[in-house]
């Protein structure tokens, strides 16, 4: 297998395995239905929605920084030297903030198939985290095609947005009604 093939296949394979593992676990594990309410929040849904919203904002910031670093947006001059480190920090924080949300989804609620909102949310959540893993790994693999990482970053941000849309936004729309 050529180096370029490896650059493509290894991260995407790892991402696909991650998405599959999340799906298999959440499908086979009996959802506990347990609730844990963080201080200052009314319900599980409210803290999950808040953390997911902050994480989404950070994922979008991460994408914007990535596009700036690769010269796709912003002024023509190179990005500041600190931009890559900030990009990495923001990405890690976004992932870290989303961890409790994902944990509760997997452990307490489980995977629900079907063509309704919950079904799409389950699928999108697995795909989003698979894409995150694939994109994070592809940044560390040499010989990747130019544009692969920004494209992957955009895919991650869109998948996270869709996951948020089918959960936190529904929560806010429901509580605001």
């Amino acid at each position: 297998m050529s180096g370029r093939s490896t650059a493509f296949v290894a991260p995407i394979g790892a991402g696909a395995l991650t998405a599959l593992a999340l799906g298999v676990y959440s499908s086979s594990h009996d959802p506990t239905g347990r609730d844990f309410v963080l201080a200052g929040f009314e319900s599980t849904a409210s803290w999950k929605s808040a953390l997911a919203s902050i994480a989404l904002a950070l994922f979008v910031t991460q994408l914007s920084l990535g596009l700036r670093i690769t010269g796709r947006i912003g002024p023509r001059r190179p990005a500041p030297a600190w931009a890559p480190d900030l990009h990495r920090l923001v990405s890690t924080l976004a992932f870290g903030l989303s961890l409790p949300v994902v944990f509760h989804c997997l452990w307490a609620l489980g995977y629900e198939g079907g063509a309704d909102r919950v079904g799409f949310h389950s699928l999108l959540g697995c795909v989003a985290y698979g894409a995150y893993v694939a994109n994070a790994l592809s940044e560390r693999v040499g010989g990747r095609p130019p544009g692969a990482v920004p494209l992957g970053g955009a895919f991650v941000a869109i998948a996270m947005l869709a996951t948020w849309w089918t959960s936190a936004l529904v929560h806010y729309a429901g509580t605001a009604a």
């Binding site: 506990t32 239905g33 347990r34 870290g96 994902v102 997997l106 609620l109 509580t175 009604a177």
Partner: protein, 123 residues
């Protein structure tokens, strides 16, 4: 190495350890489902009672079909917002914000019936 790079390294380590911990907890934390046995032989009757109570006490604010109105939408959101049925029972019993407490106007059985209706009635 800049301070930002060091901070990013530290945060990566912390999140990495948290991720591994979360994965371990997924397989080790007590995962037995809560004991919920709503499907008794009298369950249909419970839902019917809950439907009547809902129409009389709740529909004014939450809408005839739980679509929301003065109060928040209930249809399709109750189980998501209150995975633990005890939390919803406590909310109906004690009230919160603009939601009045029903402890003095509904019996415990009636509160259970209306909560069951909001969670299990066909939409």
């Amino acid at each position: 190495m800049t301070r930002l790079a060091k901070l990013a390294d530290i945060v990566q380590w912390v999140v990495g350890v948290a991720t591994l911990t979360a994965v371990l907890m997924l397989f080790t934390l007590d995962g037995s489902p809560q004991e919920v046995e709503p499907f008794t032989s009298d369950f249909d009757q419970l839902l019917d009672d809950g439907r009547d109570i809902y129409a009389e006490r709740c529909a004014t604010c939450h809408g005839d079909t739980g679509q929301g109105g003065q109060g928040p939408r209930l249809a399709g959101t109750v189980v998501v917002n209150y995975p633990d049925v005890a939390d919803e029972i406590a909310l109906v019993t004690d009230g919160r914000g603009a939601m009045p407490p029903f402890a003095l106007t509904l019996s415990d059985d009636e509160i259970v019936a209306v909560v069951a209706f909001t969670r299990f009635a066909p939409s």
